[in-house]
Symmetry: C2
Subunit: 360 residues, 2 copies
Amino acid sequence: MHSPQHFSRFAVPALDRAMTGDLQRKIDRKTKPQGALGRLESLALQLGLIQQTLSPKLIDPHVLVCAGDHGAAKAGVSAFPQEVTWQMVENFLAGGAAINVLARQAGMKLVVADAGVAHDFGPRAGLIDAKVGADGTANYLEGAAMSEAQCAAAMNHGARLAREFAAAGCNVLGFGEMGIGNTASASLITHCITGLPLAECVGRGTGLDDAGLERKRALLAQALSIWPERPEADRPVDNDALRVLTRFGGFEIAMLAGAMLAAAEARMTLLIDGFIVTSALLVAAQVAPSILDFCVFAHCSNEAGHRLQLGWLKGEPLLDLGLRLGEGTGAALALPLLNAACAFMNEMASFESAGVSEKT
Amino acid sequence: MHSPQHFSRFAVPALDRAMTGDLQRKIDRKTKPQGALGRLESLALQLGLIQQTLSPKLIDPHVLVCAGDHGAAKAGVSAFPQEVTWQMVENFLAGGAAINVLARQAGMKLVVADAGVAHDFGPRAGLIDAKVGADGTANYLEGAAMSEAQCAAAMNHGARLAREFAAAGCNVLGFGEMGIGNTASASLITHCITGLPLAECVGRGTGLDDAGLERKRALLAQALSIWPERPEADRPVDNDALRVLTRFGGFEIAMLAGAMLAAAEARMTLLIDGFIVTSALLVAAQVAPSILDFCVFAHCSNEAGHRLQLGWLKGEPLLDLGLRLGEGTGAALALPLLNAACAFMNEMASFESAGVSEKT
């Protein structure tokens, strides 16, 4: 059992659904056949409920990218060397990564945080120092990836940032990550929380070949087997997600989980990216199940386990473009659909206002 | 057989694929695992080939919405009364329809054309007068929907507009439509050109109930049965798509087909919307098969036959949001993905430029 004193409490509200009827009526009076805007309509309804208004709007959208290194990366769970984590953080800071380009395109503010990259960046403009461990996590093939105090500290860093965004007026937050080895971490977390077979939760990450995938599966099975407190095969841990996070997590995953919980607490819309971000959500949703009402699933990743996570969470992704990059790229690509959902609610004419005849 | 003298010729170029290798190399050198941007990568490749450049960009995007009325609408093929066509055109002109809102959101210029609405709008700012018939098409339950001369005139109107856009610099054109009864028309066209069973090509349109759907199917089977030149069940007409268009088409569908052909001739990117727009493309693709290389399929509509059309054309839609509104709404919603594909090609760093290590 984890020691509850380490971890902050989060009070994620239950979504008040009293406005559902009024929102649906507004949607249905727009000059279109009922339901003809498909998923945009359910999205508009959700945004209206989150914001408790008939005229939802997105204010100052941010995407938070948390980076961290993984002790297990040295054991060969990734196709890329560990140094790529800090090099990609430098790429973020220089503006040249995919998320820089796509966030700019979508009008999202990109915030990059070092949750525990094994590299000394020094004080740097544009990089949030949220470093929990100077060398990344410990190797879960040998023991716990982090201490409870570290896990709680990473979550608190994320929560603090989300609260800062909310205080400044931002009401929609996308989540992204960078960390060589973090699909492995996400696979273990997903298996432990959902109880889905480990092998099915493991994918090719940044591009392992068949042999690499087999090695990754074997290493992760081993990581699980040496954990004395591992869940039984037929019984996921459920209410002890923080124990799983501490054992297998990355600092960036813990930071994201904390940021998500605080963002939902502040009634923001959470724009969930791919496999690793969703593993953070699996943890957060065990801590506070009502967080899911605040989540929009941006896309379905090509990383094998993401579809399983979405199925388990009953999440309906907006996009299905075969992305498998992380960094929050799916969240940035989905933002225009959220903007469109708000725009049709706020700007489209109704049958009455436009003088259009109705269905006979 | 149609009389070839009525119809303009279109010279749609074959796509020169010589740059494929260079484009793929540029995509693969970007700081991401190979293939990790999924569908955005194939889209970037296609845009590069269409524009014959390693740095594709979208210039002055337009969406052309063609409106027309259908003689068969009076027979009860739609859930909405025919007057909704002109009322919705008024709604477009007033800025209150879904496509107004979504085109604005996407930064697309909306152009609305009256291809043959059964309503006298008079001269109106913002409405292109391309009226081929003052009362809409004739009822194909009694004879041909239009004459060959009318069909050719509608196509020429579309072609002229597309050429004007191209001449002004626009290089991406979305297509939309409005016309009560036009899913019925699109169903007949789709059946005749693809040979797919008529019943499967018929859907609920703006929202028919089960009884309405059955009636629509029966009426369309009847329309087909009274056509002396109907194709045999096992042999679609193939090379005589213009004969099908003349028999069952809407003026707006013919206008769209002409606009598509001229747009591809001018090497624009064609952003294809839903079921009715795709029926126009089925015609255009029989006239000039290489047009398909210039097409991006914006989305898969919830109108039953659209998935069949996409399958037949081997079109891979970008979005699958359960839309079934038409008006070009899917095209407007997909445009940000095309912008994203161009942006990553033009703005992302390469492994070399960012100093990022590669896969081991």
